[in-house]
């Protein structure tokens, strides 16, 4: 990793809002471990499914290296497996599935304004659900640090790409990795990240509203639309309540 030149570049900006050191990077990698464990069944399952859909090992692995978006990759290979699907439709579906990243980007943007566009692009490339959850929690509780975000991104990127490659190489030798119980590591980690953020009844209200709307949305909306629907609506509820009540 070429974090040194970036580090010096950031120091020139001298932003008080963004102070990073190597300790942040290491802390991020350490705190990523439970989420990397949580990726094990999904990474392997993606690799297996990609091969079953007719992709070569190199094609399966390259998709993980370049796209790095679990939900979209799963959808793409199941569409390929079903056969007769246009490339354009798969790309468009990927766009729809990943629209939720707009919300995540919006909430991280205030912390990343002092970075060069190159750094913003590097950090944006690695912003997946898991690294976003770690990063925004760290930024709002401890303080913004681009090296923390880089560490979380990199740890999850290496885990996802390696697991995809292994899954695609071993193929059906692995028996249903989603049944190992490891798939619960991700929601459990998200629970741990969420609970300290529920500081007042307004946060609890947003949490309950988002959860209920997600269940409704997943029941009635196609694909991953429930994420955008529930997260956006709950955010608006929270903002609206805050406007009405004034700041605490």
């Amino acid at each position: 990793m070429n974090e040194e030149p970036g580090l010096m570049k950031i120091d020139e900006y001298g932003g008080a809002a963004l102070q990073s050191n190597r300790g942040d990077f290491i802390a991020a990698v350490r705190q990523s471990v439970p989420l990397m464990v949580g990726l094990v069944p999904f990474g392997l399952a993606y690799g297996i499914m990609a091969r079953q859909a007719g992709l070569s090992w190199l094609e399966s692995y390259t998709m993980s290296l370049l796209v790095f978006a679990g939900a979209a990759q799963f959808t793409a290979v199941s569409m390929l497996g079903a056969g007769g699907v246009q490339v354009g439709l798969i790309v468009f579906t990927t766009l729809l599935i990943n629209l939720r990243h707009l919300l995540m980007g919006a909430s991280l943007a205030p912390y990343l304004q002092r970075l060069s566009v190159r750094w913003q692009a590097l950090l944006a490339f690695g912003m997946v659900d898991e690294s976003y959850a770690l990063t925004i929690t760290r930024f709002t509780t401890v303080g913004a640090s681009h090296l923390y975000q880089l560490g979380a991104n990199l740890a999850l990127y290496l885990a996802w790409t390696t697991l995809s490659g292994v899954g695609a190489a071993l193929g059906s030798l692995i028996k249903n990795p989603l049944q190992w119980g490891l798939d619960f590591a991700m929601p459990a980690t998200f629970i741990m990240l969420l609970i300290p953020q529920l500081k007042s009844w307004k946060e609890v209200l947003v949490c309950v509203a988002a959860g209920a709307l997600a269940v409704v949305g997943m029941t009635y909306l196609p694909g991953k639309w429930y994420i955008i629907f529930a997260a956006l609506t709950a955010t608006i509820i929270g903002g609206g309540v805050e406007e009405l009540c004034g700041r605490q």
Binding site: T62, A69, Q73, A76, V206, A214, M218, Y226, A234, G239
Partner: protein
């Protein structure tokens, strides 16, 4: 690598990157007045809750609030341990232990 697959991967990579990069690069310092920040601060809570709820409440794709839903029981265990210990390893371990136990011993889904 077949050309059509390379094209698909390139397209997927491009649109994914655009969704991640767009708001980070487009927003400027001046756009963040206090009022907008007050709205944005609820996004992480909303997204985390949105990601957690379906995995725990509807693991088979439909709402399952029965005690035979091992993900729901594991979720309750995780919330309890998270509140008590504030420890990420303990929280993950408690949830996974409940799931594995229910699956292995009782054969629940």
């Amino acid at each position: 690598m077949r050309p059509s697959i390379m094209l698909m991967i390139a397209g997927m990579a491009a649109v994914t990157f655009i969704t991640r990069f767009a708001f980070i690069v487009l927003f400027k310092n001046s756009s963040f007045d206090e009022r907008l920040s007050r709205w944005l601060r609820f996004i992480p809570i909303a997204i985390l809750s949105t990601l957690i709820a379906p995995t725990i409440l509807m693991p088979q794709g439909f709402l399952n609030l029965s005690p035979h839903n091992s993900y729901l029981l594991a979720g309750i265990a995780s919330v309890g341990v998270a509140l008590k210990t504030r420890n990420i390893i303990a929280t993950v371990a408690a949830g996974m232990a409940v799931i594995l136990l229910l699956r292995a011993v009782l054969g629940w889904a």
